[in-house]
Amino acid sequence: MPDLSRRGFMAVTSALGAVVAANPFKKYIHKLVSYVQPPVQTVPGQWTPIATTCRECPAGCGMYQMHRDGRVTKAEGNPEHPINLGGLCARGQSSLQGLYDPDRVKGPLRRDRRTGALVKVSWDSAYREVANQMRSSAGRLGLISRLETGTMRQVMQEVTAAFGSDRLLLYEPYGLEPLRAANLALYGMPVIPEYHLDKSSHIISFGADFLETWASPVELARKFSGMHSWNNGKVGRFTYVGPRLSMTATNADDFLLVSPGREQWVALAILRSMAEQGLIRDEAVKAMAASIGTGDAAGLCGVPRERISAIARSFADGGIALAAPSAAVGPGPAITAVLAGLLNEAAGAVGTRIDFSRTHALSSTATEQQLETFLDSITSGDAVIIQQTNIAFTRPSARERLRRAALVVYLGTLPDETAEIADWVLPVDSPLEAWGDHEPYTGVHGILQPTMVRLWDTRGAGEVLMELAGAAAGPSGQSGGQGETASFEQRMRNRWSGIQKRSAPGSDFDGFFTGMLRHGFLREELPPLRPSLRQQAGGLLSAPAAEGRTPYLKLWVWPSIMFYDGRTANRGWIQEAPDPVSYASWSSWVDLHPKTAASLGVKDGEVVELAVGENRLQAPVRISTEIAESVAGMTLGQGHQARGLSVAGGVGANPFLLVDPKYAGTWNFPMVSIRATGRSAPAVYTSPTKDQQDRDVLKWITASELRQSPAAVEEIDLPTPEGYDPRQNLYPPHEHRMHRWAMVIDLQKCIGCGACAVACYAENNIPVMGRKNLRQGREMAWLKVVPYLHPRKLERIGWLPLPCQHCDAAPCEPVCPVYAAVHNEEGLNAQIYNRCIGTRYCSNNCPYKVRRFNWFDPVWKKPLELQLNPEVTVRCRGVMEKCTFCVQRIRSAEYTATVEDRPVREGEIVPACMQTCPTGAYSFGDLKDPNSEVMKRFRSDPRRYQVLHELNTKSAVLYLKRIDQD
């Protein structure tokens, strides 16, 4: 062989490399090729936040999608957005898994009449054929859509009008109809107002789980935390009245467990007590309170009088009452809501803390009666378009009525239950791929813009409707129609120019719109509105419903904070995330009170069959005192049966089957029959117990104690050289270079929503393990939000967000034989994945058990791998992993600081958990900076403590005790 020069060698190898790289047999859809002309905002290798609006529920939180090199990998709350101020819930975090869902419909599908299977078609033929069928159908067009506001609603109205129809129905399963009905009765306004919980000092909730799924949960959680956290000796009070200890209820200082339907008596008792104690100033309200209903409200509600009157006194000064459970319909909850409205009037909340000038978008959704009328009136000639709502799942009785139509067109993203009954499935963009806008409150406008190119052959929903209208207008109109349809974005701009004219007259529209795209929202100032109370609201109360006797139970269903109405169920993160209170994952379960279970003779974990009429479902029992007697509780959102849903399919049971008004009647709480099957198949719980076993891992402090001794009472060991004590340390202290990172978690602020844990999955490429592995405790969560019972009050639960404690004397480190677990120079407990050999000793020795072992190679079904954070290693099987305090974010901030030649600023580093926390429970900073927020807390916060302090681990995560209001 001739002498090969280095240059020659490089040439040969690079040529070979090129050949290998250009392997012609592999076809990747998503090429890892840099842009020839990159989009304006994107810089290769750098994050670009793209402002958009979350559409996972009607709340419309503002969010940034973190875009990098052509794909988005992380959802962050928009810190300026008036709704959520930077917070985001678990569902918002999971929006990426909605975008990258492997099951998404990837192109238009037509149902073959003979085989019943869906076959692929092109968009052109889909538009043509659907338009033809719509035109030739004898009946009218009906359009059922999820809640849309802004441009999309305009387009939908125009399209239905273009087909000569006015049958547009905005359908949301949790439309808070009782509340709207109550406000209609009280004020003549069927709306949901804006609640300024932060301005209140006492909240009473009558079954409204406003921290979970009620109207605008992130916003309300933020505001709740504002009034319920410790502020120089002041802390607001929260009373919850309901049949189940929901996540919201666990945050209450007083939890009144009443059987469903009895809330109204409690409300009335409080109102009367207020009147009796002379706490109502408004004479009209006072008169009404005296006149409403008959009977012994205080006796009927089953709550001691002293407790009622104490609540009444506290409530009279700065109270807000919320009512109507998210999933409830019918007159019962409406009566409670009326009474809650009167309580608000009595406390003077309306116009001060409750703002009727801004009404929630949910106010415009269809009522139960409108929906039923719509569905009943579908005839065999009709054409129905269903727009991004899985109505066949949330309203099982709609199935056969929809099938009566000659043509059912589904505009959706997933092959779900509604897709299964559709003749055409026209796949629409994920909200992260589409243009749009959303107005969650009157005058609060959010922008939706594409955060990346489309993954599949989909179209924007508005665009599809406009195309269909254009195609239906006939051959002549077709070309014009196409010209028009290309411009949903243009339509949106037109609408926004109108907004601009109102809010910023005289400015340049392009500049205005670019600013909107950057910030993502616009908040218009509105004139105040004080609705006047109608006088005929009295005389509403009826006698309470007869108590059910076994085998009949009242069924209490509630929307899951993770699944909402089931729309997020096909996402691994969400299935894996535990239900906050029961701590069940990948499961449905039936909550029964121990006495009820005993009378029925069912054991914990036993599968029971619940039935309403012909409809029945099976789910395992969870025996718990968290629910009232003679009630069966179930969460909504699970039980998908569509074959196309590979994650959610076949998991759990669907209680919508039982509560559908068509089957259950207009219900307060439908009566279900229950039958034990004798089969044991418990739900999957990733925490075996909530009992602290006297171990005081989650500490409480009473408010009076705190007021008396405002100095710190708990000994802690600072994770710095200061924490060195020759009496208890064998080894000398060590200095940290530059920084010593630490975290403070305020347990009083943590409401248990679990958003941080899902954010952690998104940020740190944490794999989803699935039901079977979770049963063995093999979830990979780096951060768990652990529920623990109050040591004495069993109805109170505190949450312990448990990330790695980054101990200064970390027990995990010295036991590692290969230095895979070491302390870094900034105090982080670092895990070196490529050094780890997998002895699992570190995990054994971690008293907090926050380390996670990779039992298998992680799997991301394509295209979920596009979501992976490029700055975080994907770990292979056999290595240990754990929370890093988001070291990639620390490094990124340090890098920026170095480039700008300045020290890292306080607050510049925000770990993913802290970023998304709706209530601001986390703070993060540097203990080497004596003025940092965390250092102040470590030094002197009266509520400070370290978990398992007695082990002398010197953990760098400080907890602030939860407050027990006595």
Binding site: P817, N844, G878
Partner: protein, 647 residues
Amino acid sequence: MNLQIRALGGLLPVLLQVLEAAVPDLDYATINEDVLSPMSPPGPLYYAVLLMLAGGIGLLALPWMYQIHTGMGVAGISHPVGWGVYIANFVFWVGIAHSGTLISAILFLVRAKWRDSVSRAAEAMTIFAIMTAGLFPMVHLGRVWVIAFILPYPSQRQIWPNFISPLVWDVLAVSTYFTVSLIFFTIGLIPDLAAARDRAEEKLGYDSVKARIYRALSGGWSGAGSQWRHYSRSYLYFAALATPLVISVHSVVSWDFAMANLPGWHTTLFAPYFVAGAIHSGLAMVLVLMIPMRKLLKLERLVLPEHLDAVARTTLVTTAIMGYSYLVEPFTSWYSGDKFEWQFTIWRATGWPSIMFWSLFPLNVLIPAAMAFKKVRQSRIALFVIGLCVVAGMWIERVMLITSSTSHDFMPHNWGPYFPTWVEILITLGSFGFFLFLFFLFSRTLPTIPLSDLKGQLAEEELREAPPCPCPEPDFVVGAEGTAVTAVFPDAGTLVLAVSALCHAGFQRMETFTPVKIDKIQQIMGQERSPVRRWALTGAVIGCISGFGLAIGASGVNGLIVGGKNPLSIIPYCIPAFEGTVLLGSIANLAAVIVHSRLFGTTPMPRYRRSFSNDKFGVVVAGDAPEVGRARTLLASFSPEVLDVAP
């Protein structure tokens, strides 16, 4: 540590009581024949069993490969129980490995004669048990393919293992234990291999395969006085080095747990508790293996019921220690007043591990305590069954200790159960296959009884008083050149008298050949000391220094802080230093015996006769013709069986 010494102190008197166990009433040739005859070609049944056991190895290998390929998730270990049956097996097998070296080394030092009948099998058991044990940390590792990271060797990665970690101590302790046990085993085998060599040469011919193999293995051993002199000293040093090692190995293994902070693990009781448990299970395994072996290999005349009785009595001592430990463990937990410890103790006795917990008392204490009765000790079947119970009981104890503490630690929300999967069960069964395969192989290929030691007991009885040699520098060495006279005696006593006489007559150059070591000869010739001791001492000192040096140097290179400790933490480095002491001391000792006893050849020394490894004792005197003639006359007076003068 204190308790450990006390435990050992309690052990010794009982051992001394059984010192005078019976000696087999046989002659040299019979012992030779009895021990070596099982090495003749085995029958088809043996091969069938061997094949079955080889299948057992497959039982270990195939699931392991599946586990490596798929991930540790195929095993039942989980979060929080990160250690399961694999680590339990490791601890169990290391425990089994304890009796071998205990019997060989400690009982050698306290001169317990009964050890001779069982020591070889026990040592072999030790070697194979460590090999089996050594598999399990590898089976257990998440990424076994990078296991080299745990070994201290210089590499471009510039990072060394963490000498603070109990797992590194484990690696050092177990590998040292294996190396030293292997050397000890091999050294002990050499005279017996020479006997096997001579028998094979005689029966199958000089060029037969077997003869070649044993010739190579025996390293030219001739049983010469000049070899025995160094050999017996070095064997003593091996024993002295191995004794603390036996105690240390399971102490170090126990620190895998005691160094962790888990309730139930973090206790100073663990080291003595584990060592006693290890010996308990090891002795039980000796019973389980020896009782069938003496039957199958027809060794009843060599392994007498009295020997089994002695093993049983020793097991009684460990039984008592186990009983004490089982009682004191919950007591300390209660007495500590520690909430975590006490809740854990109660849970272990009432939660899911309770079935394991309560089975320990009958299996490890109550049933073996039956050996206090003479009738039980004399029943082979009873001893075998008790042995099985203890082996099973100790395995269950390991599983319970390891899985219960991990499953029930500090924060209740982390608790979780453990149950092994089929992969773990098969691999565990496979490990027994692996162990028994090796043991079966051993039983027909190597002398299963230390025949030289056994013969030594006969020789000792024959010895008579003989005055030591007055001359200043006698010399053992006799070369091939010149003339020499060889006298062959049938017993050791006459040989000693002859040597004494020769010495007094002024003969300077002579050599003895004996099948057993006779310290008396060295005494007579004033050759009790051997340069071996200097080797051993030097090796040990270098080992100690390099152990510290390695750990300190590595921490200097790494400069990493773990657990808030300094990069340089001297206390934990005592473990590498100790292991280094024993390891290098033993290796130097081995080198010394090879050099001084000239064990690098393949042929025996000149003027050696095959019968010298069997039942004859010879002395050779070299010199010029008149001197040889004088010696011949002198030797003739002792009426040797053979008296030869060779040119």
